[in-house]
């Protein structure tokens, strides 16, 4: 009679095997296999007694004290939360930081000219809405093109993605700035969308100019896996609408701001 394999014995012990009855029957009649099972059992039961350091009931309180200061004001509702009106308060705060970066940086000249007729907060919000909105729109285009690129039917032909790659590279810097701002602001939902986007953009930017169909396919899979196109599209669309409403406010159109900035 054929003895049971180690795999069968472990599987039997785990309750993770078919033909349990046949194995049980063999075990009742075969001392060798039973001994073998007992030896496995002995090792496992010794391991069961490996101690874990005690953590008393006060441990939970200690954990809370450690993490509480790091928790953003609101629990993350995933990227959907971004579409909620109250998100825009956080976005306002983010705009302040972005503006700060602009003022501190090379855009100083562009922005400090002229006094906006609209309130500072409105302008700040609009700047961000426009900036992130445009950013997401551009990112969507690049990803769409890649996602919809057809694979060559046969042959090891290389696919040239240098155009998309160059654009992804350009988008990466801006994306990093927006993501960091969102993170600093504790806006986990926005940060998470931008984080996903950043990874995919990075993948694209760091690919060689000519890629194999397999590599393209894996890029496409990554784009799909993150659901990033969908997220970017929805958030981008919301931003466009938001932009329309802020644009309808008097003295607050984007073009006017740009004109002013040129002055």
């Amino acid at each position: 009679m054929k003895h049971l394999t180690e795999e069968e014995l472990v599987g039997y012990r785990e309750g993770e095997i078919t033909q349990r009855e046949a194995i049980a029957e063999h075990l009742t009649s075969c001392t060798a296999c039973r001994t073998e099972l007992e030896r496995i059992e002995a090792v496992l039961s010794a391991l069961d007694n490996l101690p874990v350091p005690e953590r008393g009931p006060e441990y939970g309180r200690a954990v809370w004290q450690k993490i509480a200061p790091q928790l953003p004001e609101k629990a993350g509702r995933g990227w959907r939360a971004w579409l909620e009106p109250r998100r825009w308060v956080a976005i306002g705060a983010m705009v302040a930081v972005v503006i700060g970066a602009f003022v501190a940086g090379r855009w100083t000249k562009k922005l400090d000219a002229g006094t906006p007729a609209a309130s500072v907060a409105q302008v700040k919000e609009r700047v961000l809405v426009v900036a992130v909105g445009e950013h997401l729109g551009k990112s969507e285009m690049v990803l769409m093109e890649l996602a919809n690129a057809t694979l060559p039917v046969s042959g090891p032909k290389q696919i040239n993605i240098s155009a998309e790659q160059k654009r992804a590279e350009d988008l990466l810097d801006a994306n990093r700035l927006y993501r960091e701002t969102a993170q600093q602001d504790g806006d986990a939902a926005l940060a998470s969308v931008l984080d996903d986007l950043e990874r995919v953009l990075m993948d694209v930017a760091h690919s060689p100019e000519e890629i194999t169909p397999a590599k393209l396919e894996s890029l496409q899979k990554r784009i799909e896996a993150h659901g990033i196109l969908f997220k970017v599209r929805v958030v981008g669309k919301e931003l466009q609408e938001k932009q329309k409403t802020t644009n309808s406010a008097p003295a607050a159109t984007d073009s006017k701001v740009r004109e002013r900035n040129k002055a």
Binding site: G15, E16, A46, P51, G60, V63, W64, I67, E73, R77
Partner: protein, 231 residues
């Protein structure tokens, strides 16, 4: 067939308690999502110990385990909306912790591998430990602590996936599907990983356990309780 575990079997009382806890977990999740940040505290206080046990067994050290627990709750908070309150918060937080612990283990291994040459592995062993090992075993727990050290070493030798699979299966009694989800593998691959972990541990520990292992298990006062072979 029995499964050994420290966790006691379910009694009706325990089940009632568990279902009450789940209910108030769901409530705490709702309240947290409604903007009451302090409601999350209930969840943290309730599940920290369980997550710590898992994290300790996966990482093998207290410092890492504590960090895993904290990070798991931070992640849970950030993603609470995705979780909603459809499922059991404990199970969900548990999975987040397991996911994070495995990432951390893998990362650490890569770092360690980069840092150390093969020969330095032997050097890492504390010479004092070796001396202690060679000493004739006094009556008390000497045999036990030697065995314990061997077990810790054997667990360290497992790959991150194997260790995760073993911890989840044997100490935590997780279903294969749950393990597969954490390992991002198929269930048959997860089964295989469990098997490989048992096989490796057996190879490493059988010389030290033998008949004594079973005796020690009993002597330690933790005679295994029969447990269903639930999946």
């Amino acid at each position: 067939m029995t499964r050994m575990s420290e966790s006691a079997g379910s009694t009706p009382d325990r089940e009632a308690l568990q279902s009450a806890a789940r209910e108030s977990d769901a409530l705490a999740v709702e309240r947290t999502l409604a903007g009451e940040r302090d409601a999350f505290r209930v969840l943290v206080e309730r599940h920290s110990q369980q997550l710590f046990r898992l994290a300790y067994r996966m990482t093998g050290n207290e410092h890492d385990a504590e960090e895993v627990v904290q990070e798991a709750f931070l992640r849970a908070y950030r993603n609470l909306g995705q979780f909603g309150s459809r499922a059991n918060f404990g199970t969900w937080a548990y999975r987040i912790a397991a996911n994070y612990a495995i990432d951390r283990m893998r990362q650490k291994r890569t770092e360690d591998a980069r840092r150390s040459t093969p020969s330095s592995l032997a050097e890492e062993q504390d010479p004092l430990d070796l001396v202690a090992d060679d000493r004739p075993t006094p009556d008390r727990l000497a045999g036990n602590s030697e065995l314990r050290k061997k077990m810790e070493e054997a667990l360290k030798e497992l790959s991150s996936s194997e260790r995760t699979a073993f911890v989840m299966r044997h100490w935590e009694g997780c279903a294969i599907e749950e393990i597969a989800a954490v390992l991002e593998s198929t269930t048959s691959a997860a089964k295989n990983t469990v098997f490989r972990s048992v096989q490796k541990l057996r190879r490493a520990l059988e010389p030290y356990v033998g008949a004594r292992g079973a005796l020690q298990a009993k002597a330690a006062g933790a005679a295994p309780e029969p447990r269903g072979t639930e999946l």
